[in-house]
Structures are given as structure tokens and as C-alpha cells.
């Protein structure tokens, strides 16, 4: 499905990585490991097309993602460092709007928030950091038909219950034939994962 050919990335004149090759088939999980500042976030941003690699290219089903544009972004979910939630809106409004903008059905948004234990009617600015993170990750529960998930530190700031819920969602997605790339410092509970060390 996803293929990285000879990727290199340079930030602020410093080479983060180069000559990175891998491919990801459906049903596979890939963890990006590495120290702080080693380029995990940059690699994920390159994979979703927000950042242009200084060399090489990313291919989705054999075609360069540059030429696919929205066709590619419709087949991925990217959850980055920032939660991507508007402070003024409630968690439920945020989730429903994010789904509409991503072209995903918003059915079951209430259930998704309940699974993550988020009070849907509270404005996001009243939520704690961990709760915001969960509210952002609740999108995953509604994105089961989106083939590619790109998650930046999905387990950061989460408690044990939420971590196992996210792991369960990731495992379920791989079981359905989806592919997941995520970054994490430590080994996660997902044993079947391949690892790229930056």
C-alpha cells in the first residue's frame, strides 16, 4: 500500500535521516522509534504529505502522493502532536466537524466519545491535556474505513486504560486490512509491530 523510496529529510540545515526505504502492506503495523529530535514527527509529516522530503518520494498504491493530492489525503488519518481541536467548541462538535471535513461519516460520534470517556458537551478548553488527547484519538473509532492511519505519539499523555483502548483500535484496524504507522519511544503492547529506528 504505502512505499517510501530513498527518503531523506533535512531540517534547519541538519540532515535527520537519509536513504530510508520501507514498504507497508495492508494489515501491517509499523512503529517509528528513535530519540527525541531524531525526525519521527518529520517522517510522519512526510508520509502524510505535509512536508516535502529533501530527496526520495512516498508512493501510495504505486503512485507518488504528490500527484494524488486529495485522493491520497482521503485515504489517511493523521493525528499529530497538536490535538487539532477548537477550544471554543465542545468535544462532540469538534469530532463531528472533523469527520465531515475529512469526508468520513459522523455516525456513532457519541459512542466513540463515550468509549474514550470524554464528556461530549463540555467545551474543549475545560478538558485536561490527557482528555484532549483522548478526544483527538476518538476520531480513530470513526475512521475504520480509512485505510491508512498515521499517528504521532498516540500513547503520550494517556493513562493505562486509554492506552489499551488505542492499542485495541490499532489492532482491530490491522485486522480489517488497514495499515498503521505510529511513533513511540518505548515498545508498545503491540507485539506484531515492525520497527524502524531513526
Amino acid at each position: 500500500m504505502l512505499e517510501a523510496a530513498d527518503l531523506a529529510c533535512e531540517r534547519g540545515g541538519r540532515a535527520l535521516f537519509h536513504g530510508l526505504n520501507f514498504s507497508l502492506a495492508s494489515g501491517e503495523l509499523l512503529r517509528i522509534g528513535g530519540a527525541n529530535g531524531s525526525g519521527k514527527t518529520s517522517l510522519l509529516r512526510i508520509l502524510c504529505g505535509l512536508l516535502t522530503p529533501s530527496a526520495g518520494e512516498v508512493r501510495w498504491q504505486g503512485q507518488a502522493i504528490r500527484s494524488l493530492a486529495e485522493e491520497y489525503s482521503r485515504s489517511l488519518v493523521h493525528i499529530g502532536h497538536a490535538a487539532g481541536l477548537k477550544d471554543e467548541l465542545t468535544a462532540a462538535e469538534n469530532l463531528a466537524i472533523a469527520c465531515t471535513l475529512a469526508g468520513v461519516s459522523r455516525d456513532g460520534a457519541g459512542d466513540a466519545l463515550a468509549r474514550f470517556g470524554i464528556p461530549g458537551e463540555k467545551p474543549v478548553k475545560q478538558l485536561s491535556q490527557g482528555q484532549r488527547r483522548r478526544a483527538a484519538l476518538a476520531r480513530l473509532a470513526l475512521s475504520q474505513n480509512v485505510p491508512l492511519w498515521l499517528l504521532d505519539e498516540p500513547f503520550a499523555a494517556l493513562d493505562a486504560a486509554a492506552i489499551s483502548l488505542v492499542e485495541e483500535l490499532i489492532r482491530g484496524h490491522a485486522g480489517r486490512g488497514g495499515a498503521v504507522v505510529f511513533s513511540a519511544h518505548q515498545d508498545s503492547g503491540l507485539q506484531e509491530t515492525r520497527l524502524i529506528q531513526l
Binding site: 487539532g84 471554543e88 471535513l101
Partner: protein, 222 residues
């Protein structure tokens, strides 16, 4: 695609409604600047009538500049802009929808309140309509051109000042045509030519500016 546009306009209007004070600030700025001139210049009806179109237009221009900083900044800070760039619709369409919502919140109130403020300048009766019409055609152009500048300066240090330096020169044609329309109508020549040119600028800006802003946003997001 239309669902995305509707949803985005709804979202931006809802956020603006929950942060009404931000919206009120730009409108109040406009009201105060326009009201300061008669106080400073003195109650000279002939002079006030002459400077009215220019003063109201310059105030509208500065007030929309003040509002421009909000266009992408909040979305950039909370990460929703990245989500929009990875959304189902092309980024150019997203930018048009955002610029439209931004104009509804920051431009349209100026159009509505300008004739009322013009009373202080004792404009002859027929000119209130021309003034409102010129602002109705001109302020969306300001939002569109401003969106390019806002996208280019996104996330930079001192973005506000840079934005003003970048965008104000580009606002000059709109200012000349907008104020000119009212002046021509006051001189009895009719401001149709200027209004038609403003309309043409609006069409061109609506067609091209969103794509330029989208390209600038992609660069800023890197």
C-alpha cells in the same frame, strides 16, 4: 465538497460567535476611527462631506487588516489547519470557505454600519447607497488579498507588522476605486465605472486568490 464548505463556514461562524468580543473589537475600531475625524477636523460641513469617502474607506481597510491576523492563526496554533490541509476538499476550496466566513464576520458588519457612521459627515442622501455598495464589493476583495498575506506570514515572528507592510500596498487599488466611486457619485458623474471595476476585481480575486493562499499555506505548514 459542498458539505465541506458548509461545515467549515458553520464551524468558523460558531467559533466567532463564541468569541464575540474579538469580532466586536474590529467593529468598534472602525466606529471609533471614523468618529474621530469629525472631532479632530471640526464641524466644517463642506470639508467633512469632501473627506467622508476617503476616511470611511481607509478606516474600513485598517479594520479589515486588524481582523486578518485571526484568519489562519488560531487554526495553525491548535493544529486544525493541518487537519484541513489533509481534508477531503482541495485546500483552495477550504481557503475560499474560510475567507467567506471571515468576511461575513469582519467585513459585512462594516458594510452595514458605514452608512450610519456617514451621517456624521452629512453626506448627501443619494450617496449612502453608493458607499454601502462600494464597501460590499470592496471588502471581500480585501479579505481575499489579505488571505494571501496572512498565509505567507503564518507562524512568523512579528507577523502582524509584516502582514501590514505586505498587504497594504496591494489594498491601494481597492481604496482608490472604492472611495472614487463615492466621490464620482458626489460630483454627479455617477460611480458606475468604479463599481464595475471593483466587481471585476472581486471576480478575479475570488477565482485566483484562494489558490495563491493555498500554495502559501502549504509552504507555511512545512
Amino acid at each position: 465538497m459542498t458539505r465541506v464548505i458548509r461545515c467549515l463556514i458553520y464551524r468558523d461562524l460558531l467559533v466567532a460567535w463564541r468569541r464575540r468580543s474579538d469580532v466586536a473589537v474590529t467593529l468598534l475600531f472602525f466606529v471609533i476611527v471614523v468618529s474621530l475625524f469629525p472631532l479632530g477636523v471640526g464641524p466644517e460641513p463642506e470639508l467633512l462631506r469632501q473627506i467622508a469617502p476617503g476616511v470611511i474607506w481607509v478606516a474600513a481597510l485598517l479594520s479589515s487588516l486588524l481582523a486578518l491576523g485571526r484568519l489562519f492563526e488560531a487554526d495553525h496554533a491548535d493544529g486544525t489547519l493541518e487537519q484541513l490541509a489533509l481534508g477531503a476538499a482541495p485546500l483552495g476550496v477550504v481557503v475560499s470557505a474560510k475567507a467567506l466566513a471571515h468576511w461575513l464576520v469582519s467585513g459585512l458588519p462594516l458594510v452595514a454600519i458605514a452608512p450610519l457612521l456617514a451621517l456624521q459627515y452629512d453626506l448627501p442622501g443619494g450617496l449612502y447607497g453608493v458607499l454601502a455598495l462600494s464597501l460590499l464589493l470592496g471588502t471581500p476583495v480585501l479579505s481575499m488579498i489579505g488571505a494571501i498575506g496572512a498565509a505567507l506570514t503564518l507562524g512568523l515572528r512579528g507577523a502582524g507588522v509584516l502582514l501590514a507592510l505586505l498587504v497594504l500596498p496591494l489594498f491601494v487599488p481597492v481604496l482608490i476605486l472604492g472611495a472614487g466611486a463615492v466621490e464620482m457619485a458626489a460630483a454627479g458623474v455617477g460611480g458606475h465605472g468604479q463599481l464595475l471595476l471593483l466587481g471585476a476585481m472581486l471576480v478575479v480575486a475570488a477565482a485566483l486568490a484562494p489558490w495563491a493562499s493555498a500554495a502559501a499555506l502549504r509552504i507555511s505548514l512545512e
